[in-house]
């Protein structure tokens, strides 16, 4: 059973799907927060992920050149997160804030423009070619392989996948604490539920907006770095490629529902990877070229059947 079916399924489809799902989940948190709190679909979100990964690459490369340190990407990501959040704040101040009281579609348009501005800036600075993020092949973790092989359930997981999954769980726990226990987290939920009511009760909406960018930016850079660790290279379109699945995840989980977004992200990631599994016959069920199409189809079905998402999010 394991040798004929499970080994291939778990190692080559399920675990990669889970890892991809973690990345989508982190990205979708930012999308769903901006959609819920600032009330617009942020098209520039994928570019923040991409920029964060480029910052991380630059920091670890410079640390290697100047100091001779070889930083783990997750260490180099910490200053990158601060830089990305700073840029997000500037973008919000100069490009989104002027439209705070205008029809929301103006901000959507501004964010669509920012998507290209950010991407072309990155392309101008770092050039259009792919950059190697992590060199070499990450071998499956030997201890896990040995242990599970003894149980006849051999599982091959490279260390990078452990880092990604553990990182996602830790970020999720911190995020839960933030939303459920802290003052600003409660304020965020309040604004998401009803901005007018929140303002009347004395919540500082601008502070909530800043917190949204901090949390969204943090998760986006984490997602970008995780993605770069997974695919091991950087390219300037990596953010745009993530955008559609992240929107799909946010809509699937329900707009304004961060935990829904995480769940949606896992579902979308799994669905994309599992769609290539040879369910019928030997050929992939759906050609891997159409992976993005899977996310899109799920999103369209959701919009037809239940636009509020699985967890009763907001519909506009």
């Amino acid at each position: 059973m394991w040798a004929s079916f499970g080994f291939e399924f778990v190692n080559f489809y399920f675990i990669p799907g889970l890892v991809l799902g973690c990345i989508y989940a982190l990205g979708a948190i930012g999308i769903t927060l901006t959609f819920g709190i600032l009330r617009f679909a942020n098209f520039a979100h994928g570019e923040v992920m991409m920029t964060g990964a480029y910052f991380t690459w630059t920091i670890s490369t410079l640390a290697g050149l100047w100091l001779g340190w070889s930083l783990h990407p997750l260490v180099a990501a910490i200053p990158a997160i601060f830089a990305a959040i700073g840029i997000l704040m500037l973008i919000d101040r100069y490009f989104y804030k002027p439209f705070r009281n205008a029809p929301t579609i103006m901000v959507v348009m501004a964010s669509f423009g920012m998507m290209l501005v950010v991407r072309s800036t990155v392309q101008f600075i770092w050039g259009p070619n792919q950059l190697t993020f992590v060199k070499g092949i990450d071998k499956p973790n030997e201890a896990v392989r040995q242990f599970t092989a003894d149980l006849d359930l051999m599982i091959l997981v490279p260390n990078k996948h452990f880092w990604i999954m553990a990182g996602t769980v830790i970020i999720m726990l911190c995020f839960t604490y933030l939303l459920e226990r802290t003052r600003i987290g409660k304020a965020m939920r309040a604004v998401s539920d009803s901005p007018d009511l929140a303002r009347v009760t004395g919540i500082d909406v601008e502070a909530v907006v800043r917190a949204t960018w901090v949390v969204g930016g943090f998760c986006a850079v984490a997602a970008g770095v995780f993605l770069a660790m997974d695919i091991q290279f950087l390219e300037t379109t990596m953010g745009f490629r993530m955008l559609l699945p992240m929107f799909a995840a946010a809509i699937l989980g329900g707009i304004g529902r961060p935990f829904g977004a995480v769940f949606g992200g896992l579902i979308i990631g799994l669905a994309e990877e599992l769609s290539a599994y040879p369910w019928i016959g030997d050929a992939p069920f759906i050609s891997p070229g159409y992976k993005t199409g899977v996310a899109f189809t799920i999103m369209i079905i959701m919009l037809i059947v239940r636009p509020s998402g699985l967890f009763k999010g907001r519909t506009f």
Binding site: F40, F43, T104, G113, Q123, M299, T315, F316
Partner: protein, 355 residues
Amino acid sequence: MDQLLGFFLYFLSLLTVGGIYALLALGLNVQWGFAGLFNVGIAGFAAVGAYTYALLTTDVSPFHMGGLGLPLAIGAIAAMLLSGAIAGVIGVICIRLRADYLAIATIGIAEIIKLFLKNQTELTNGPRGINKIPRAWEHFTEERFYTSAPMSWISDAAGWQAFFDSLPRWWWQPMFTLTILLVIFGVYILLERARLSPWGRMMTAIRENEHAAQAAGKDVTRRRIEAFILGAVIMGMAGALFAQHLRLIDPTNTFDPAKMTFLVWVMLIAGGSGNNRGAILGAFLIWTIWSGSELVINTSIEIIANYQDMFDVGVLRTRAGYLRMLLIGILLQFILQRYPSGILPESRPAAIGKQ
């Protein structure tokens, strides 16, 4: 003299591509300017038009399916119909939801169209694209056209060959440009009529206050879907013309979703959304700036290269295109914040009896 001819041909090509973009902007104006529908999948609809046209009109080819060699007009009409049909499906699903969802869905459909064109290799030749697409007027010089009816009624192959040899090599270029300008003029006249008609007034009412329009008994969803399809039909037409202009189309570079869609948006916003003349003006203006900035940036890079040798200018050369994109993006943000109604703001039709 040769130089003058060069300028003339450059001017014609500005008019040609600017005109194709003007058609796209007019299509977007129906969707956004009239009905307030946010479409960021323009490149997708144009790609559908271009590929439909290409597959129907090219000669038989071993690389892709079809190559039916149909008349050019049939190809263009099919391009419009298919583009409109896809818009209809999207519209029925997404238009009752808020604009953001339509934006996500349209950017999604553009991606899916690109995926389809890239992966259905036996149909579209995949990433390598389709070439030898017949271009209006120039196509008369192709053998398969002048040896078949109706051209073969007038003269035989040798006669036509001699005739074409007697013309200058670029004879078709003014004709092609003129055709595009005529198409724009026709579309403009039709859209102006639509705008001033009860239908157009109803669109404005729906855009400005959906609930009031609904209370007045207007079928909001249906009207919006109509506007969305009409816009997509025009975009399909523009796609077919774009395929003619390029003669070689491929899914990734020709229809770069972000670049093409984004340029059309900048054109419409700069020209003035809601105003058909504004859309045309914006398209020609932004296209001139866009292609002119290439000259300016390349010239300045050469100047930098002449006066210093501290760093390698080749890097700048390969990245100049991104700088252009960056500047045009900043331009959009500037216009959006400072002049949201554009150069030619929308003018509402006067109430009946007051004209």
